[in-house]
């Protein structure tokens, strides 16, 4: 497949790189893919291999049909159609913000303007920072400038190493929105390293889970959440993603339904219009089960579901119940006592009471 970023690494550990890196992955072009895993799993090293900053690591890298690295080929970083946002921003301290941006602009791959890049630059709102030196910027400001600088290279591949970790939440949401546009409108391929589940769940169509330098799992978010290994890495424990489309706002209560098939999951009123796709993350511990639809409860979101599987060995006191809402997966963590009292069995129809959801997109 030429319309992908292909990466194959099998690098024996050395003094310089003690990790045994073993990855065989294909990242779809024009999408956001995430590299996910605990600290020290090799995420940053993998990004550096893709960027061409690790010539000593034996790897095969090809982007959209162009071989960048193989046994007998090496394209240096500066000749790759790529830009990289470093975790620590790596702004040039001897240059002002404006000069840092100009450094990238002078060496841009494609000189043409693109609406999505302009939108991103506007979202990053760096115009008030232009005259300042990197040393005088806050961590969040530095990240914004680093992101803008990388965008001004106008690459086809953007490598992002925790690019939003120092931003406040409102700005993070806005930047994530423009990152999505960058892929959708400009067809930029993005490889995204982050610890933040909400960022990955919202942005990434393809996820590669790294552990000790190896790609232990890869696939879409939906495929990954059915497997347990990935979940140990997620903050807040096991959870599931429900996706649907937003319905019309209920202005009386400032609520808006997320339509999941014939069911509605009520959310606080969103800024997006009806019809917009939306995903929410529901933690297993926030889901309780009832045999009947209790209207006499403060829990607003009660979805009919069918029990798919029951794992009563999850812990001495708790059981994990895998449910299906329509066709979508939903996990509920309940006590084993409740499991026994309600006499739950696979195939049974129940009502899932959802106490809280985290909005993703």
């Amino acid at each position: 497949m030429s319309n992908a970023l292909r990466l194959r690494v099998d690098a024996r550990p050395t003094a310089e790189h003690p990790l045994h890196l073993r990855i065989n992955s294909e990242f779809p072009c024009g999408e956001v893919s995430a590299l996910f895993g605990p600290s020290g799993a090799g995420k940053t090293t993998t990004l550096r291999v893709l960027a061409g900053l690790e010539q000593t690591i034996n790897a095969n890298v090809a982007f959209a049909g162009d071989t960048w690295q193989s046994a007998d080929q090496w394209v240096p970083a500066h000749a790759r159609n790529m830009a990289y946002v470093f975790q620590q921003a790596a702004l040039f301290p001897h240059l002002s913000v404006a000069q840092n941006l100009a450094f990238a602009e002078r060496r841009a791959i494609a000189p043409t303007n693109s609406p999505a890049t302009e939108a991103m630059l506007a979202t990053l709102s760096i115009s008030e920072l232009l005259a300042r030196r990197p040393a005088d910027l806050s961590g969040g400001e530095r990240q914004r400038v680093a992101l803008a600088r990388a965008l001004l290279r106008r690459p086809r591949l953007l490598l992002l190493d925790e690019p939003l970790s120092a931003l406040d939440d409102a700005r993070r949401q806005a930047v994530m929105h423009t990152i999505e546009r960058l892929c959708r409108d400009d067809g930029v391929t993005i490889i995204y390293v982050s610890h933040a589940v909400d960022e990955i769940a919202r942005l990434a169509k393809h996820i590669v889970v790294l552990s000790d330098g190896q790609s232990v799992q890869q696939g879409g978010w939906e495929a990954l959440q059915a497997t347990t290994d990935a979940h140990g890495l997620l903050e807040g424990g096991r959870g599931s993603i429900l996706s649907g489309t937003l319905g019309p706002i209920d202005s009386a209560w400032h609520l808006q339904p997320l339509q999941i098939g014939d069911n509605s999951l009520w959310l606080p009123q969103q800024s997006a219009d009806a019809g917009a796709p939306m995903r929410v993350r529901v933690l297993a511990k926030d889901v309780s089960l009832a045999l009947h639809d209790h209207a006499d409860t403060s829990i607003l979101n009660r979805l009919p579901a069918r029990i798919d599987a029951i794992d009563s060995d999850a812990s001495p006191s708790a059981a994990l119940v895998t449910l299906r809402v329509e066709t979508q997966l939903l996990y509920a963590s309940i006590t084993r006592k409740s499991l026994a009292q309600l006499a739950l069995t696979p195939g049974q129809s129940v009502f899932a009471q959802i106490k809280s959801v985290a909005l993703l997109a």
């Binding site: 970083a77 500066h78 990289y84 790596a90 301290p93 001897h94 791959i109 990388a150």
Partner: protein, 229 residues
């Protein structure tokens, strides 16, 4: 306390030699310093030692071997002869060659420290923004090493002004050609002309003090040790 015409000639010659030597050293020292700061070659230690030799050797040793090498039977003498140039001993050009070797560590060391202090991630960032090796070197490394260049220039210049042993061995004391201030002072003292020796000596002390003060004032904030090279 006034300076004679011969003193002024010696002063001008010294400034000319120091300026020319510094320019050459910056050009020659930059690649050497870069290689010493960035290479992982096993040759790094011996090359660093070779560069630092003039720090510990008596200037007369350097001067003696330069004299032999540049003489008609030496390899440099053979080279200049083959190329149709005059022999280098007791010429201004010979002094420039000697000064470049003698002051090399004073230029290489500050540059090496400045290059070694550059964060590799900044060079990586420059590469990912499309800057090739030379572009990175000129636009990032050299500009970040600017305080190192200031130190190197001041030290290279001041140290060349202060040389004596090498000069005496390979240059002698030809007015307007090889008679530098340090030699002129020696000649004044030999002929018991202490007033003239004082005038020139004081001038050199003031120059050295001003040079070093400017170095400490404007030089790199840390790594002061490099001043001692």
């Amino acid at each position: 306390m006034s300076l004679s015409a011969a003193d002024l000639t010696a002063l001008w010659l010294t400034v000319k030699l120091a300026a020319l030597t510094t320019l050459i050293l910056i050009a020659v020292g930059t690649p050497i310093a870069w290689w010493l700061a960035r290479s992982r070659s096993q040759w790094r230690a011996p090359v660093a030692a070779l560069v630092a030799l003039p720090l510990v050797l008596p200037p007369t040793v350097i001067g003696f071997y330069l004299l032999v090498a540049m003489g008609p039977a030496g390899p440099i003498g053979w080279l200049t002869d083959t190329l149709g140039f005059e022999l280098l001993p007791f010429t201004f050009t010979g002094l420039v060659v000697g000064s470049v070797i003698y002051s090399l560590p004073f230029v290489v060391q500050p540059l090496r420290n400045a290059f070694a202090a550059i964060d590799q991630e900044l060079l990586d960032a420059a590469a990912t923004l499309g800057a090739g090796p030379l572009d990175r070197f000129v636009q990032v490394s050299m500009r970040l090493a600017r305080p190192g260049y200031l130190s190197a220039a001041v030290l290279g210049f001041a140290h060349t002004v202060g040389e004596f042993g090498v000069v005496l061995m390979i240059g002698g004391s030809i007015p307007g050609e090889t008679r530098l201030v340090s030699v002129q002072i020696y000649d004044h003292a030999e002929s018991l002309n202490f007033a003239s020796a004082h005038a020139l000596s004081l001038l050199l002390i003031v120059f050295a003090f001003v040079a070093l003060t400017s170095l400490y004032w404007f030089g790199p904030r840390h790594g002061r040790a490099e001043v001692i090279a």
